[in-house]
């Protein structure tokens, strides 16, 4: 027979643990109180404090951040998702970390480098309103655009970094990582920018590549030289086919580099891409056809631009939740990860970055993808 008191204590401890684990109860309060004292103390979110702001070019700034101590670190090439509030609306964007993993280990600092995009709400807001001492909510680092480790030492795995514009940010982190871990590494960087003025990290890149004997740095200026060609690529990097390519820049740029590289004999598996970046806002007409992808079920259906998302989901064989079918009850709420919809109640296009939409009153305009429905 066990001591009944011990039993009771055990029971109470178990109960208390379960209670603590149930999200929404005590922790929410504790987190609220801690955040009231200092936002950095939050246990439910990772926060980061801005410690320095560096002007890189006319339209690019680097924000040095000190994440809260629970933040786990990152690998060179990874990105974080940052949340910023603009006029009451929380907007999220991914930004590659431009600093080195070592700098984080030593000083607990990371940095993101943000180019101001014309019409870009988040980048403009960060440029105009983010100050030293402010805090931001950040995510853990993620992304698989990282340096591939050599399995077989004999096999050459020379990286070729190809970046355009602000696509340099994850590459910067990787180059710093090369310097810290294997300074003798043979590597090359081809960097496309509009003009010499828009060369991000110019001084840093020159110093870095200058100090690494086996790293070459080839900048290109599209305003004077035009866009990338096969010949140019071949000329910049004659041993292209032996290299592993790390590519980051706007979508059309990456597409053309990929096709040139394949032409020159680079195997598919040797090209690594970072696929986010400046997506230019497109204004589409209502009645536009497109593909609707339901990511959680893997189904998709063609939209003619005349049926609501709820109707489309149903004809794709899904069983979405709904109630009034007229925009009142919000039972049909679903989360959209990309694309635009037309709100039939207001006749307006919802912005790309609005994630919560009512399926019963939303008509897809062009391609969209739905996270969960």
């Amino acid at each position: 027979m066990q001591n009944p008191l011990a039993n009771a204590t055990q029971y109470i401890t178990a109960l208390a643990t379960r209670f603590w684990q149930q999200n929404g109860a005590l922790q929410t309060y504790l987190d609220f109180l801690l955040s009231e004292v200092d936002p950095m103390l939050s246990l439910q979110r990772y926060m980061a404090e801005v410690t320095r702001i560096i002007d890189e070019t006319d339209d690019t700034k680097t924000f040095v951040l000190r994440p809260s101590s629970r933040w786990q670190g990152f690998q060179a090439g990874q990105y974080i998702n940052i949340a910023t509030e603009i006029n009451g609306v929380t907007l999220r964007r991914n930004y590659s970390i431009s600093s080195s993993p070592d700098a984080f280990k030593q000083h607990q600092l990371i940095s993101i480098t943000v180019k101001k995009i014309p019409g870009g709400r988040v980048s403009t807001h960060l440029h105009n309103h983010l100050n030293i001492g402010d805090t931001l909510a950040i995510s853990p680092a993620s992304g698989s655009f990282t340096l591939v480790k050599r399995e077989n030492k004999k096999q050459s795995d020379k990286p070729l970094f190809i970046a355009a514009g602000s696509g340099i940010t994850p590459v910067m982190s990787m180059l710093l990582n090369v310097k810290e871990t294997s300074p003798a590494q043979d590597a090359a960087l081809i960097y496309y920018v509009n003009s010499p003025q828009s060369l991000i990290f110019e001084a840093q890149l020159k110093a870095l590549t200058g100090s690494l004997p086996n790293v070459s740095f080839i900048p290109h200026f599209t305003e004077s030289e035009g866009y990338i060609t096969s010949q140019q690529l071949q000329h910049d990097c004659p041993d292209l086919a032996e290299r592993t390519i790390y590519l980051c820049g706007p979508q059309p740029f990456m597409e053309s580099v990929t096709s040139h590289a394949k032409e020159l004999g680079v195997a598919d598996g040797r090209i690594h891409l970072e696929s986010f970046g400046a997506s230019s806002p497109v204004t589409r007409q209502s009645g536009t056809k497109g593909q609707v992808s339901f990511l959680n079920s893997g189904k998709s259906i063609q939209s003619q631009g005349d049926k609501t998302l709820l109707e489309l989901a149903e004809s794709a064989g899904l069983n979405p939740k709904y109630g009034c079918r007229s925009g009142i009850c919000h039972e049909c709420k679903c989360s959209k990860s990309s694309g635009q919809v037309l709100n039939t109640l207001t006749g307006e296009l919802t912005p790309d970055d609005q994630t919560q939409i009512q399926a019963c009153i939303s008509i897809p305009v062009g391609d969209i993808s739905i996270d969960s429905l």
Partner: protein, 365 residues
Amino acid sequence: MKTNILDTLTHQELDAFGHELDQLRQEVINDLGQRDADHIRNIIKKQRYSEVAGRALIHFSLNPLSWAVGVGLLSTAKILENMEIGHNVMHGQYDWMNDPALNSQTYEWDTVCDAESWRKTHNFEHHTYTNILGKDRDYGYAVLRLTDDEPWKPRHLFQFINYGVLSVFFQWGVGLHELETEKLRSGEVTWKDKLPFIKRFAKKAAKQVSKDYIVFPLLAGPMAPKVFLGNMLANLNRNLWTSTIIFCGHFTEDAQTFKEEECENESRGMWYYRQLLGSSNFTGSKWLHIMSGHLSYQIEHHMFPDIPAHRYPEMATKVQQLCEKYDIPYNTGSFGSQFKTVLARIARYSLPPKKTAPRSPAVGA
């Protein structure tokens, strides 16, 4: 007589009326921003501080007075959470903020009513079919007879007692609403059909009961009884308050009911019109409105359930102007006078209908 309520305006008039309300809705939507985010965060802050202070006082009070203050603060916190925060967030009023803590589909509130169940019975059933007899199950909560359209039975003589019990245990009544006891009794649905709901309800209720009646009292050790009692009183206060607010919003004397046939193929204008006739407002101070979750503006809430509720006062001025323009009654009065008419209505329908003089609806009055 009642079948004609919706016919007092022509179709053209109803369309124009609906159009003007849509416009008003759009104006406010276009204007949503920092002010609204600040409002809800400010209320949340006040709610959290009053809950923390209330619980601390209940635990550590050295005299009955500080204990009573603690109970008052905890009651306030529970009311704020249920009304201005929970109810409104779950209507989707703050979804545009993209803040996961204020998302209508994931928010869970501090009552035994499971949020999922609430969204179904309240957001869908009640807000879509407002005051349609047989479809809006909020109408009398299957407990009260509030119209002559429901046949009188001798048990209705005692419905004041039922009303009292419903108010005291209001959160349980709301929580069990989806059980549809009236349909179980008539055999329309079976207990087996209701099993998923019962499971969900039991889980939420157990969580709530263990929080207020087991965990917090135990944390106080030998002082457990006073914590138990304090939490019970806070829940009681919240129950009585929310029940009263909700009754004043729909069961005042002049709030109209509708028949299913009247609402077939309803236009948007007619839907607005029905929401308006079925709801009633009451006047009061800013804090009365906040403590009622702005359900003191029940009319505006029913027309614009997903617009942040603190916008209702400014919208109400325009709605009232429109009502004057179209000669539509706008049911409002002081809190006290509206509540009196609720009690009068419960009393009136305790008795069988008077054969001689059927009450005519107050349209245009």
